[in-house]
Symmetry: C2
Subunit: 318 residues, 2 copies
Amino acid sequence: MNEFELIRRLTRSLPANAAVVTGAGDDCAVLDLGVPDQLILFKTDAVVEGFHFTRETPPEKIGRKALARCLSDIAAMAGTPTAALVTLGLPETFDPDFVARIYAGLNALAEQHQVAVVGGETTTNPGGILISIALLGLVGRGKQILRGGARAGDAIFVTGELGGSLAGKHLDFAPRLAEARWLAEHFHLHAMLDVSDGLAGDLRHILEAGQVGAEILQSALPVSRAAKLRANPPGSPGSSHKSAALAALTDGEDFELLFTVASRDAVKLLDAWRKKFPELKLSCIGKIVAGEGILLRNRTGTHRFAASGYEHFRGRGQ
Amino acid sequence: MNEFELIRRLTRSLPANAAVVTGAGDDCAVLDLGVPDQLILFKTDAVVEGFHFTRETPPEKIGRKALARCLSDIAAMAGTPTAALVTLGLPETFDPDFVARIYAGLNALAEQHQVAVVGGETTTNPGGILISIALLGLVGRGKQILRGGARAGDAIFVTGELGGSLAGKHLDFAPRLAEARWLAEHFHLHAMLDVSDGLAGDLRHILEAGQVGAEILQSALPVSRAAKLRANPPGSPGSSHKSAALAALTDGEDFELLFTVASRDAVKLLDAWRKKFPELKLSCIGKIVAGEGILLRNRTGTHRFAASGYEHFRGRGQ
Protein backbone atom coordinates (compact mmCIF):
# COMPACT_ATOMS: atom_id res chain seq x y z
CA MET A 1 0.00 0.00 0.00
CA ASN A 2 1.55 3.31 -1.05
CA GLU A 3 1.00 6.74 0.47
CA PHE A 4 -1.88 7.62 -1.84
CA GLU A 5 -3.73 4.37 -1.18
CA LEU A 6 -3.24 4.77 2.55
CA ILE A 7 -4.53 8.35 2.48
CA ARG A 8 -7.52 7.28 0.42
CA ARG A 9 -8.32 4.63 2.99
CA LEU A 10 -7.83 6.92 5.96
CA THR A 11 -9.84 9.79 4.56
CA ARG A 12 -12.80 7.70 3.42
CA SER A 13 -14.93 8.73 6.39
CA LEU A 14 -13.53 11.42 8.61
CA PRO A 15 -15.48 13.20 11.35
CA ALA A 16 -17.13 16.36 9.97
CA ASN A 17 -19.24 19.22 11.29
CA ALA A 18 -21.15 22.24 10.03
CA ALA A 19 -17.98 24.35 9.72
CA VAL A 20 -16.50 22.18 6.95
CA VAL A 21 -16.85 23.61 3.43
CA THR A 22 -14.12 21.41 1.89
CA GLY A 23 -12.43 18.66 3.90
CA ALA A 24 -9.51 16.38 3.09
CA GLY A 25 -8.36 16.04 -0.53
CA ASP A 26 -7.79 19.56 -1.81
CA ASP A 27 -4.78 21.84 -1.38
CA CYS A 28 -6.21 23.22 1.85
CA ALA A 29 -9.23 22.51 3.99
CA VAL A 30 -11.86 25.25 3.71
CA LEU A 31 -13.84 26.18 6.83
CA ASP A 32 -16.71 28.53 7.49
CA LEU A 33 -16.15 29.92 10.99
CA GLY A 34 -18.51 32.84 10.52
CA VAL A 35 -16.17 35.50 9.14
CA PRO A 36 -18.43 37.71 7.01
CA ASP A 37 -17.38 37.45 3.33
CA GLN A 38 -14.42 35.18 4.09
CA LEU A 39 -13.64 31.51 4.51
CA ILE A 40 -10.73 30.06 6.48
CA LEU A 41 -8.03 28.00 4.76
CA PHE A 42 -6.26 25.44 6.97
CA LYS A 43 -3.21 23.43 5.95
CA THR A 44 -0.27 21.48 7.37
CA ASP A 45 2.85 20.33 5.58
CA ALA A 46 6.02 18.66 6.84
CA VAL A 47 9.61 18.46 5.57
CA VAL A 48 11.87 15.65 6.74
CA GLU A 49 15.66 15.34 6.78
CA GLY A 50 16.91 12.97 4.09
CA PHE A 51 13.81 13.49 1.95
CA HIS A 52 13.21 17.21 1.57
CA PHE A 53 16.65 18.43 2.65
CA THR A 54 19.95 17.07 3.98
CA ARG A 55 22.30 17.94 6.82
CA GLU A 56 24.30 19.89 4.22
CA THR A 57 21.37 22.17 3.30
CA PRO A 58 21.86 25.67 4.71
CA PRO A 59 19.45 25.78 7.67
CA GLU A 60 17.93 29.10 6.57
CA LYS A 61 16.82 27.36 3.38
CA ILE A 62 15.32 24.46 5.31
CA GLY A 63 13.15 26.84 7.32
CA ARG A 64 12.28 28.84 4.24
CA LYS A 65 11.26 25.72 2.32
CA ALA A 66 9.10 24.39 5.16
CA LEU A 67 6.97 27.54 5.15
CA ALA A 68 7.11 28.11 1.37
CA ARG A 69 5.55 24.70 0.65
CA CYS A 70 2.59 25.57 2.86
CA LEU A 71 2.27 29.06 1.36
CA SER A 72 2.13 27.42 -2.07
CA ASP A 73 -0.94 25.46 -0.94
CA ILE A 74 -2.66 28.66 0.17
CA ALA A 75 -1.78 30.13 -3.25
CA ALA A 76 -3.35 27.09 -4.94
CA MET A 77 -6.69 28.09 -3.34
CA ALA A 78 -6.21 31.77 -4.36
CA GLY A 79 -6.00 32.66 -0.68
CA THR A 80 -3.97 34.91 1.58
CA PRO A 81 -1.89 33.36 4.40
CA THR A 82 -2.32 34.81 7.88
CA ALA A 83 -0.70 32.85 10.71
CA ALA A 84 1.60 29.86 11.13
CA LEU A 85 2.59 27.46 13.90
CA VAL A 86 5.94 25.67 13.70
CA THR A 87 6.54 22.13 15.01
CA LEU A 88 10.22 21.33 15.11
CA GLY A 89 11.31 17.73 15.70
CA LEU A 90 14.99 17.60 16.66
CA PRO A 91 17.48 14.81 17.36
CA GLU A 92 18.44 14.34 21.00
CA THR A 93 21.53 16.47 20.47
CA PHE A 94 21.50 19.48 18.21
CA ASP A 95 23.21 22.81 17.72
CA PRO A 96 20.97 25.65 18.93
CA ASP A 97 22.48 27.94 16.30
CA PHE A 98 21.39 25.54 13.58
CA VAL A 99 17.84 25.77 14.93
CA ALA A 100 18.02 29.54 15.21
CA ARG A 101 19.07 29.70 11.56
CA ILE A 102 16.14 27.48 10.52
CA TYR A 103 13.85 30.01 12.22
CA ALA A 104 15.68 32.93 10.62
CA GLY A 105 14.93 31.61 7.13
CA LEU A 106 11.36 30.79 8.01
CA ASN A 107 10.73 34.14 9.68
CA ALA A 108 12.16 36.11 6.77
CA LEU A 109 9.73 34.50 4.35
CA ALA A 110 6.87 34.97 6.84
CA GLU A 111 7.66 38.69 7.11
CA GLN A 112 7.73 38.97 3.34
CA HIS A 113 4.17 37.66 3.14
CA GLN A 114 2.89 39.33 6.34
CA VAL A 115 2.38 35.95 7.98
CA ALA A 116 2.45 35.92 11.79
CA VAL A 117 4.35 33.09 13.46
CA VAL A 118 2.28 32.53 16.59
CA GLY A 119 4.10 29.67 18.29
CA GLY A 120 4.46 25.94 17.95
CA GLU A 121 6.74 23.57 19.77
CA THR A 122 10.03 21.75 19.72
CA THR A 123 10.00 18.03 20.38
CA THR A 124 12.57 15.26 20.29
CA ASN A 125 12.53 13.24 17.04
CA PRO A 126 15.31 10.64 17.21
CA GLY A 127 15.45 9.91 13.45
CA GLY A 128 16.38 13.42 12.35
CA ILE A 129 15.01 16.89 11.81
CA LEU A 130 11.34 17.23 10.93
CA ILE A 131 9.52 20.53 10.50
CA SER A 132 5.75 20.61 10.28
CA ILE A 133 4.04 23.91 9.52
CA ALA A 134 0.39 24.56 10.28
CA LEU A 135 -0.95 27.52 8.34
CA LEU A 136 -4.16 29.55 8.42
CA GLY A 137 -5.29 31.73 5.57
CA LEU A 138 -8.33 33.59 4.31
CA VAL A 139 -10.10 33.59 0.97
CA GLY A 140 -13.14 35.53 -0.20
CA ARG A 141 -16.31 33.50 0.39
CA GLY A 142 -16.89 31.48 -2.78
CA LYS A 143 -13.60 32.69 -4.31
CA GLN A 144 -11.58 29.59 -3.38
CA ILE A 145 -10.39 27.60 -6.41
CA LEU A 146 -10.70 23.84 -5.94
CA ARG A 147 -9.25 20.96 -7.93
CA GLY A 148 -12.53 19.61 -9.18
CA GLY A 149 -13.97 22.04 -11.75
CA ALA A 150 -12.12 21.25 -15.00
CA ARG A 151 -14.38 20.76 -18.07
CA ALA A 152 -13.75 19.26 -21.50
CA GLY A 153 -12.52 22.03 -23.77
CA ASP A 154 -10.70 23.97 -21.01
CA ALA A 155 -7.23 25.29 -21.72
CA ILE A 156 -4.58 24.05 -19.29
CA PHE A 157 -2.02 26.57 -18.03
CA VAL A 158 1.08 26.33 -15.90
CA THR A 159 3.22 29.13 -14.48
CA GLY A 160 7.01 29.24 -14.59
CA GLU A 161 9.18 26.36 -15.70
CA LEU A 162 9.12 22.69 -14.81
CA GLY A 163 11.61 19.97 -13.95
CA GLY A 164 15.02 19.77 -12.34
CA SER A 165 13.89 21.46 -9.12
CA LEU A 166 16.38 19.41 -7.10
CA ALA A 167 19.19 21.46 -8.70
CA GLY A 168 18.18 24.31 -6.40
CA LYS A 169 14.68 25.67 -7.00
CA HIS A 170 13.14 23.35 -4.39
CA LEU A 171 14.88 25.50 -1.75
CA ASP A 172 14.34 28.91 -3.35
CA PHE A 173 10.98 28.86 -5.10
CA ALA A 174 8.57 31.75 -4.74
CA PRO A 175 5.05 30.71 -3.72
CA ARG A 176 2.73 32.13 -6.39
CA LEU A 177 0.43 33.93 -3.97
CA ALA A 178 -0.01 37.26 -5.76
CA GLU A 179 -0.29 35.55 -9.13
CA ALA A 180 -3.02 33.17 -7.94
CA ARG A 181 -5.08 35.94 -6.35
CA TRP A 182 -4.78 38.06 -9.49
CA LEU A 183 -5.85 35.11 -11.67
CA ALA A 184 -8.86 34.33 -9.49
CA GLU A 185 -9.85 37.97 -9.36
CA HIS A 186 -9.73 38.57 -13.12
CA PHE A 187 -10.65 35.22 -14.66
CA HIS A 188 -13.07 32.41 -14.01
CA LEU A 189 -10.65 29.61 -13.12
CA HIS A 190 -12.26 26.18 -13.23
CA ALA A 191 -9.62 24.21 -11.30
CA MET A 192 -6.24 24.96 -9.75
CA LEU A 193 -3.53 23.34 -7.64
CA ASP A 194 0.16 23.76 -7.06
CA VAL A 195 2.51 21.31 -8.79
CA SER A 196 4.33 19.56 -5.95
CA ASP A 197 4.48 15.89 -7.02
CA GLY A 198 5.30 16.53 -10.69
CA LEU A 199 3.10 17.92 -13.45
CA ALA A 200 1.68 14.57 -14.61
CA GLY A 201 0.85 13.37 -11.10
CA ASP A 202 -0.80 16.61 -10.06
CA LEU A 203 -2.64 17.03 -13.35
CA ARG A 204 -4.13 13.61 -12.64
CA HIS A 205 -5.58 14.98 -9.39
CA ILE A 206 -7.41 17.61 -11.43
CA LEU A 207 -8.54 15.01 -13.98
CA GLU A 208 -9.80 12.56 -11.37
CA ALA A 209 -11.56 15.28 -9.41
CA GLY A 210 -13.26 16.57 -12.58
CA GLN A 211 -13.77 13.13 -14.20
CA VAL A 212 -12.07 14.32 -17.37
CA GLY A 213 -8.91 13.66 -19.36
CA ALA A 214 -6.16 15.89 -20.77
CA GLU A 215 -4.20 16.19 -23.96
CA ILE A 216 -0.73 17.68 -23.40
CA LEU A 217 1.43 19.09 -26.19
CA GLN A 218 4.99 18.06 -25.41
CA SER A 219 6.51 20.99 -27.33
CA ALA A 220 4.50 23.43 -25.19
CA LEU A 221 5.95 22.20 -21.89
CA PRO A 222 8.01 24.96 -20.24
CA VAL A 223 11.09 22.82 -19.58
CA SER A 224 13.49 24.43 -17.11
CA ARG A 225 17.16 25.00 -17.87
CA ALA A 226 18.00 22.78 -14.88
CA ALA A 227 16.00 19.91 -16.38
CA LYS A 228 17.78 20.36 -19.72
CA LEU A 229 21.21 20.50 -18.11
CA ARG A 230 20.60 17.42 -16.00
CA ALA A 231 19.24 15.48 -19.00
CA ASN A 232 22.13 16.21 -21.32
CA PRO A 233 24.23 14.23 -22.11
CA PRO A 234 22.06 11.27 -21.00
CA GLY A 235 23.87 8.81 -18.79
CA SER A 236 26.72 11.13 -17.89
CA PRO A 237 27.56 11.77 -14.23
CA GLY A 238 24.94 14.06 -12.66
CA SER A 239 22.42 13.22 -15.33
CA SER A 240 18.86 12.67 -14.18
CA HIS A 241 18.54 9.72 -16.59
CA LYS A 242 15.37 11.37 -17.79
CA SER A 243 14.79 13.30 -20.98
CA ALA A 244 14.17 16.97 -20.28
CA ALA A 245 10.52 16.59 -21.27
CA LEU A 246 10.07 13.65 -18.93
CA ALA A 247 11.68 15.66 -16.13
CA ALA A 248 9.20 18.48 -16.77
CA LEU A 249 6.35 15.97 -16.60
CA THR A 250 7.44 13.96 -13.57
CA ASP A 251 9.99 15.79 -11.40
CA GLY A 252 8.52 16.98 -8.11
CA GLU A 253 8.71 20.21 -6.14
CA ASP A 254 8.10 22.70 -8.94
CA PHE A 255 5.53 24.62 -6.84
CA GLU A 256 4.06 26.28 -9.89
CA LEU A 257 0.33 26.91 -10.42
CA LEU A 258 -1.52 24.50 -12.69
CA PHE A 259 -5.02 25.65 -13.66
CA THR A 260 -7.71 25.45 -16.30
CA VAL A 261 -10.00 28.07 -17.84
CA ALA A 262 -12.59 27.98 -20.60
CA SER A 263 -10.76 28.02 -23.93
CA ARG A 264 -12.50 31.28 -24.93
CA ASP A 265 -10.63 33.01 -22.04
CA ALA A 266 -7.21 31.61 -22.94
CA VAL A 267 -5.85 34.30 -25.27
CA LYS A 268 -7.20 37.17 -23.17
CA LEU A 269 -5.65 35.59 -20.09
CA LEU A 270 -2.24 35.18 -21.72
CA ASP A 271 -2.26 38.80 -22.92
CA ALA A 272 -3.27 40.18 -19.54
CA TRP A 273 -0.73 37.97 -17.75
CA ARG A 274 2.15 39.19 -19.88
CA LYS A 275 1.33 42.78 -18.99
CA LYS A 276 0.88 42.04 -15.29
CA PHE A 277 3.72 39.53 -14.75
CA PRO A 278 6.16 40.12 -17.63
CA GLU A 279 8.95 38.23 -15.86
CA LEU A 280 7.10 35.02 -15.10
CA LYS A 281 6.36 32.60 -17.90
CA LEU A 282 2.79 31.38 -18.36
CA SER A 283 2.29 28.45 -20.75
CA CYS A 284 -0.79 26.91 -22.27
CA ILE A 285 0.29 23.27 -22.36
CA GLY A 286 -2.82 21.55 -23.67
CA LYS A 287 -6.52 21.06 -23.18
CA ILE A 288 -9.01 19.14 -21.07
CA VAL A 289 -10.82 16.41 -23.03
CA ALA A 290 -13.61 13.96 -22.33
CA GLY A 291 -12.38 10.61 -21.04
CA GLU A 292 -9.66 10.00 -18.49
CA GLY A 293 -5.90 10.10 -18.05
CA ILE A 294 -3.25 11.99 -19.97
CA LEU A 295 -2.57 11.88 -23.70
CA LEU A 296 0.81 13.24 -24.77
CA ARG A 297 1.22 14.65 -28.28
CA ASN A 298 4.73 14.87 -29.72
CA ARG A 299 6.35 14.48 -33.12
CA THR A 300 5.95 10.70 -33.04
CA GLY A 301 2.19 10.87 -32.47
CA THR A 302 -0.23 10.84 -29.55
CA HIS A 303 0.56 8.47 -26.68
CA ARG A 304 -1.18 7.58 -23.47
CA PHE A 305 1.02 8.76 -20.60
CA ALA A 306 0.73 6.06 -17.95
CA ALA A 307 0.03 6.55 -14.27
CA SER A 308 3.54 5.71 -13.19
CA GLY A 309 4.96 7.83 -15.97
CA TYR A 310 8.61 7.05 -15.86
CA GLU A 311 9.07 3.47 -17.13
CA HIS A 312 6.35 3.61 -19.71
CA PHE A 313 7.63 6.86 -21.10
CA ARG A 314 11.19 5.55 -21.31
CA GLY A 315 9.87 2.33 -22.82
CA ARG A 316 8.60 4.44 -25.68
CA GLY A 317 12.09 5.70 -26.27
CA GLN A 318 11.41 9.32 -25.31
CA MET B 1 20.49 24.72 26.30
CA ASN B 2 17.27 22.91 27.23
CA GLU B 3 13.94 23.01 25.44
CA PHE B 4 12.59 25.94 27.45
CA GLU B 5 15.70 28.07 26.87
CA LEU B 6 15.64 27.27 23.16
CA ILE B 7 11.97 28.19 22.87
CA ARG B 8 12.58 31.42 24.76
CA ARG B 9 15.33 32.29 22.33
CA LEU B 10 13.33 31.35 19.24
CA THR B 11 10.17 33.15 20.27
CA ARG B 12 11.88 36.38 21.30
CA SER B 13 10.91 38.17 18.09
CA LEU B 14 8.54 36.36 15.80
CA PRO B 15 6.80 37.90 12.79
CA ALA B 16 3.41 39.33 13.78
CA ASN B 17 0.48 41.04 12.10
CA ALA B 18 -2.79 42.71 12.98
CA ALA B 19 -4.62 39.38 13.39
CA VAL B 20 -2.55 38.34 16.42
CA VAL B 21 -4.29 38.81 19.78
CA THR B 22 -1.98 36.44 21.71
CA GLY B 23 1.08 34.89 20.05
CA ALA B 24 3.54 32.28 21.27
CA GLY B 25 3.70 31.45 24.97
CA ASP B 26 0.16 30.63 26.04
CA ASP B 27 -1.79 27.37 25.69
CA CYS B 28 -3.02 28.41 22.25
CA ALA B 29 -2.43 31.32 19.93
CA VAL B 30 -5.42 33.67 19.79
CA LEU B 31 -6.28 35.31 16.47
CA ASP B 32 -8.83 37.87 15.39
CA LEU B 33 -9.87 36.92 11.86
CA GLY B 34 -13.03 39.00 11.91
CA VAL B 35 -15.56 36.51 13.27
CA PRO B 36 -18.13 38.68 15.06
CA ASP B 37 -18.08 37.95 18.81
CA GLN B 38 -15.49 35.17 18.46
CA LEU B 39 -11.74 34.75 18.38
CA ILE B 40 -9.87 31.86 16.77
CA LEU B 41 -7.71 29.51 18.86
CA PHE B 42 -4.83 27.85 17.01
CA LYS B 43 -2.62 25.10 18.42
CA THR B 44 -0.29 22.28 17.39
CA ASP B 45 0.99 19.44 19.52
CA ALA B 46 3.05 16.37 18.65
CA VAL B 47 3.47 12.93 20.22
CA VAL B 48 6.58 10.88 19.46
CA GLU B 49 7.24 7.14 19.76
CA GLY B 50 9.49 6.33 22.69
CA PHE B 51 8.51 9.52 24.53
CA HIS B 52 4.74 9.76 24.58
CA PHE B 53 3.94 6.15 23.69
CA THR B 54 5.71 2.91 22.75
CA ARG B 55 5.30 0.27 20.06
CA GLU B 56 3.33 -1.70 22.66
CA THR B 57 0.73 1.04 23.16
CA PRO B 58 -2.60 0.11 21.54
CA PRO B 59 -2.69 2.26 18.39
CA GLU B 60 -6.23 3.51 19.11
CA LYS B 61 -4.87 5.03 22.31
CA ILE B 62 -1.95 6.66 20.49
CA GLY B 63 -4.35 8.42 18.14
CA ARG B 64 -6.66 9.32 20.97
CA LYS B 65 -3.83 10.79 23.04
CA ALA B 66 -2.48 12.86 20.14
CA LEU B 67 -5.80 14.65 19.74
CA ALA B 68 -6.66 14.74 23.46
CA ARG B 69 -3.49 16.69 24.30
CA CYS B 70 -4.45 19.37 21.81
CA LEU B 71 -8.07 19.44 23.00
CA SER B 72 -6.73 20.01 26.52
CA ASP B 73 -4.98 23.16 25.29
CA ILE B 74 -8.23 24.47 23.81
CA ALA B 75 -9.88 23.70 27.18
CA ALA B 76 -7.16 25.68 28.95
CA MET B 77 -8.33 28.79 27.01
CA ALA B 78 -12.02 28.01 27.79
CA GLY B 79 -12.59 27.44 24.08
CA THR B 80 -14.45 25.04 21.84
CA PRO B 81 -12.49 22.92 19.33
CA THR B 82 -13.68 22.94 15.73
CA ALA B 83 -11.34 21.32 13.19
CA ALA B 84 -8.12 19.31 13.18
CA LEU B 85 -5.42 18.35 10.70
CA VAL B 86 -3.35 15.22 11.31
CA THR B 87 0.33 14.89 10.33
CA LEU B 88 1.49 11.31 10.59
CA GLY B 89 5.21 10.55 10.35
CA LEU B 90 5.76 6.85 9.70
CA PRO B 91 8.82 4.59 9.42
CA GLU B 92 9.68 3.42 5.91
CA THR B 93 7.82 0.17 6.52
CA PHE B 94 4.63 0.07 8.55
CA ASP B 95 1.45 -1.92 8.93
CA PRO B 96 -1.48 -0.07 7.32
CA ASP B 97 -3.83 -1.61 9.90
CA PHE B 98 -1.77 -0.08 12.68
CA VAL B 99 -2.22 3.32 11.05
CA ALA B 100 -5.94 2.74 10.50
CA ARG B 101 -6.30 1.95 14.21
CA ILE B 102 -4.45 5.16 15.15
CA TYR B 103 -7.03 7.05 13.10
CA ALA B 104 -9.90 5.06 14.61
CA GLY B 105 -8.94 6.18 18.12
CA LEU B 106 -8.39 9.75 17.01
CA ASN B 107 -11.63 9.92 15.04
CA ALA B 108 -13.70 8.52 17.91
CA LEU B 109 -12.52 11.28 20.24
CA ALA B 110 -13.04 13.87 17.50
CA GLU B 111 -16.65 12.69 17.01
CA GLN B 112 -17.24 12.86 20.75
CA HIS B 113 -16.28 16.56 20.75
CA GLN B 114 -17.81 17.42 17.34
CA VAL B 115 -14.36 18.15 15.92
CA ALA B 116 -14.01 17.80 12.14
CA VAL B 117 -10.87 16.07 10.85
CA VAL B 118 -10.26 17.95 7.61
CA GLY B 119 -7.11 16.32 6.29
CA GLY B 120 -3.40 16.37 6.93
CA GLU B 121 -0.68 14.20 5.50
CA THR B 122 1.42 11.13 5.95
CA THR B 123 5.17 11.49 5.58
CA THR B 124 8.15 9.21 6.08
CA ASN B 125 9.89 9.68 9.44
CA PRO B 126 12.74 7.18 9.71
CA GLY B 127 13.17 7.39 13.50
CA GLY B 128 9.68 6.21 14.41
CA ILE B 129 6.06 7.27 14.58
CA LEU B 130 5.30 10.93 15.13
CA ILE B 131 1.82 12.43 15.16
CA SER B 132 1.37 16.18 15.07
CA ILE B 133 -2.13 17.59 15.44
CA ALA B 134 -3.05 21.10 14.33
CA LEU B 135 -6.27 22.27 15.93
CA LEU B 136 -8.58 25.25 15.43
CA GLY B 137 -11.08 26.37 18.00
CA LEU B 138 -13.32 29.28 18.87
CA VAL B 139 -13.75 31.29 22.04
CA GLY B 140 -16.06 34.20 22.82
CA ARG B 141 -14.30 37.49 22.10
CA GLY B 142 -12.61 38.52 25.35
CA LYS B 143 -13.63 35.26 27.07
CA GLN B 144 -10.30 33.49 26.53
CA ILE B 145 -8.45 32.74 29.79
CA LEU B 146 -4.71 33.37 29.56
CA ARG B 147 -1.88 32.37 31.89
CA GLY B 148 -0.94 35.85 32.95
CA GLY B 149 -3.69 37.25 35.20
CA ALA B 150 -3.00 35.73 38.64
CA ARG B 151 -2.97 38.26 41.54
CA ALA B 152 -1.71 38.02 45.10
CA GLY B 153 -4.53 36.72 47.25
CA ASP B 154 -6.06 34.51 44.53
CA ALA B 155 -7.10 30.99 45.44
CA ILE B 156 -5.42 28.29 43.33
CA PHE B 157 -7.59 25.41 42.10
CA VAL B 158 -6.88 22.21 40.27
CA THR B 159 -9.35 19.69 38.83
CA GLY B 160 -9.11 15.92 39.23
CA GLU B 161 -6.13 14.13 40.72
CA LEU B 162 -2.43 14.49 40.12
CA GLY B 163 0.58 12.23 39.67
CA GLY B 164 1.23 8.75 38.35
CA SER B 165 -0.30 9.46 34.94
CA LEU B 166 2.12 7.03 33.29
CA ALA B 167 0.23 4.16 34.96
CA GLY B 168 -2.50 4.72 32.38
CA LYS B 169 -4.22 8.09 32.60
CA HIS B 170 -1.86 9.65 30.03
CA LEU B 171 -3.62 7.53 27.39
CA ASP B 172 -7.16 7.84 28.68
CA PHE B 173 -7.59 11.31 30.15
CA ALA B 174 -10.64 13.38 29.38
CA PRO B 175 -9.86 16.90 28.15
CA ARG B 176 -11.70 19.26 30.52
CA LEU B 177 -13.52 21.18 27.79
CA ALA B 178 -17.01 21.41 29.28
CA GLU B 179 -15.61 22.12 32.72
CA ALA B 180 -13.41 24.97 31.49
CA ARG B 181 -16.22 26.62 29.55
CA TRP B 182 -18.54 26.35 32.55
CA LEU B 183 -15.89 27.86 34.82
CA ALA B 184 -15.22 30.76 32.47
CA GLU B 185 -18.92 31.38 32.00
CA HIS B 186 -19.82 31.48 35.69
CA PHE B 187 -16.70 32.84 37.39
CA HIS B 188 -14.09 35.47 36.75
CA LEU B 189 -11.01 33.28 36.27
CA HIS B 190 -7.76 35.24 36.50
CA ALA B 191 -5.39 32.67 34.95
CA MET B 192 -5.71 29.13 33.64
CA LEU B 193 -3.67 26.44 31.89
CA ASP B 194 -3.69 22.69 31.59
CA VAL B 195 -1.19 20.74 33.68
CA SER B 196 0.96 18.90 31.14
CA ASP B 197 4.51 19.19 32.50
CA GLY B 198 3.67 18.59 36.16
CA LEU B 199 1.85 20.84 38.62
CA ALA B 200 4.94 22.66 39.88
CA GLY B 201 6.35 23.34 36.43
CA ASP B 202 3.06 24.59 35.02
CA LEU B 203 2.19 26.61 38.11
CA ARG B 204 5.51 28.39 37.53
CA HIS B 205 4.27 29.44 34.07
CA ILE B 206 1.34 31.15 35.77
CA LEU B 207 3.60 32.72 38.39
CA GLU B 208 6.13 34.02 35.87
CA ALA B 209 3.43 35.36 33.57
CA GLY B 210 1.73 37.15 36.49
CA GLN B 211 4.97 38.11 38.31
CA VAL B 212 3.67 36.55 41.52
CA GLY B 213 4.47 33.62 43.80
CA ALA B 214 2.40 30.78 45.25
CA GLU B 215 2.02 29.05 48.57
CA ILE B 216 0.91 25.42 48.19
CA LEU B 217 -0.50 23.34 51.04
CA GLN B 218 0.90 19.85 50.63
CA SER B 219 -2.02 18.21 52.45
CA ALA B 220 -4.45 19.78 49.98
CA LEU B 221 -2.83 18.22 46.91
CA PRO B 222 -5.23 15.77 45.23
CA VAL B 223 -2.77 12.88 45.00
CA SER B 224 -3.93 10.16 42.64
CA ARG B 225 -4.23 6.52 43.63
CA ALA B 226 -1.69 5.69 40.90
CA ALA B 227 0.85 8.06 42.43
CA LYS B 228 0.28 6.51 45.87
CA LEU B 229 0.60 2.95 44.56
CA ARG B 230 3.77 3.71 42.65
CA ALA B 231 5.30 5.47 45.64
CA ASN B 232 4.65 2.71 48.14
CA PRO B 233 6.73 0.91 49.25
CA PRO B 234 9.57 3.25 48.20
CA GLY B 235 12.41 1.55 46.38
CA SER B 236 10.43 -1.58 45.55
CA PRO B 237 10.19 -2.78 41.93
CA GLY B 238 7.82 -0.54 39.95
CA SER B 239 8.16 2.26 42.46
CA SER B 240 8.47 5.76 41.05
CA HIS B 241 11.18 6.56 43.62
CA LYS B 242 9.14 9.63 44.42
CA SER B 243 6.91 10.25 47.39
CA ALA B 244 3.26 10.45 46.37
CA ALA B 245 3.23 14.18 47.08
CA LEU B 246 6.29 14.74 44.94
CA ALA B 247 4.67 12.75 42.14
CA ALA B 248 1.59 14.98 42.38
CA LEU B 249 3.83 18.04 42.15
CA THR B 250 6.17 16.93 39.38
CA ASP B 251 4.77 14.06 37.29
CA GLY B 252 3.73 15.16 33.83
CA GLU B 253 0.69 14.51 31.64
CA ASP B 254 -2.06 15.06 34.18
CA PHE B 255 -4.02 17.27 31.74
CA GLU B 256 -6.05 18.80 34.54
CA LEU B 257 -7.07 22.47 34.70
CA LEU B 258 -5.05 24.72 36.99
CA PHE B 259 -6.59 28.14 37.58
CA THR B 260 -6.85 31.04 40.00
CA VAL B 261 -9.81 33.16 41.12
CA ALA B 262 -10.18 35.95 43.65
CA SER B 263 -10.33 34.38 47.11
CA ARG B 264 -13.80 35.84 47.71
CA ASP B 265 -15.11 33.61 44.88
CA ALA B 266 -13.47 30.43 46.16
CA VAL B 267 -16.20 28.98 48.39
CA LYS B 268 -19.01 29.87 46.00
CA LEU B 269 -17.06 28.25 43.17
CA LEU B 270 -16.46 25.05 45.11
CA ASP B 271 -20.14 24.79 46.04
CA ALA B 272 -21.34 25.39 42.48
CA TRP B 273 -18.76 22.96 41.08
CA ARG B 274 -19.87 20.14 43.36
CA LYS B 275 -23.43 20.54 42.14
CA LYS B 276 -22.44 20.78 38.48
CA PHE B 277 -19.65 18.18 38.36
CA PRO B 278 -20.25 15.89 41.37
CA GLU B 279 -17.97 13.18 40.00
CA LEU B 280 -14.89 15.29 39.32
CA LYS B 281 -12.79 16.48 42.24
CA LEU B 282 -11.93 20.18 42.48
CA SER B 283 -9.27 21.14 45.01
CA CYS B 284 -8.15 24.48 46.39
CA ILE B 285 -4.44 23.76 46.83
CA GLY B 286 -3.14 27.12 47.99
CA LYS B 287 -2.95 30.79 47.22
CA ILE B 288 -1.11 33.31 45.08
CA VAL B 289 1.26 35.52 47.08
CA ALA B 290 3.50 38.47 46.34
CA GLY B 291 7.04 37.49 45.38
CA GLU B 292 8.10 34.67 43.14
CA GLY B 293 8.39 30.89 43.01
CA ILE B 294 6.61 28.22 44.98
CA LEU B 295 6.48 27.84 48.77
CA LEU B 296 5.35 24.43 49.99
CA ARG B 297 3.72 24.15 53.43
CA ASN B 298 3.71 20.76 55.12
CA ARG B 299 3.98 19.42 58.65
CA THR B 300 7.68 20.20 58.82
CA GLY B 301 7.20 23.86 57.92
CA THR B 302 7.25 26.06 54.82
CA HIS B 303 9.92 25.28 52.23
CA ARG B 304 10.90 26.86 48.97
CA PHE B 305 10.18 24.35 46.20
CA ALA B 306 13.05 24.68 43.75
CA ALA B 307 12.80 25.05 40.00
CA SER B 308 14.06 21.58 39.26
CA GLY B 309 11.86 20.14 41.96
CA TYR B 310 12.96 16.60 42.15
CA GLU B 311 16.47 16.52 43.64
CA HIS B 312 15.95 19.42 45.96
CA PHE B 313 12.71 18.02 47.28
CA ARG B 314 14.28 14.62 47.89
CA GLY B 315 17.22 16.35 49.52
CA ARG B 316 14.78 17.68 52.07
CA GLY B 317 13.73 14.15 52.88
CA GLN B 318 10.12 14.49 51.71
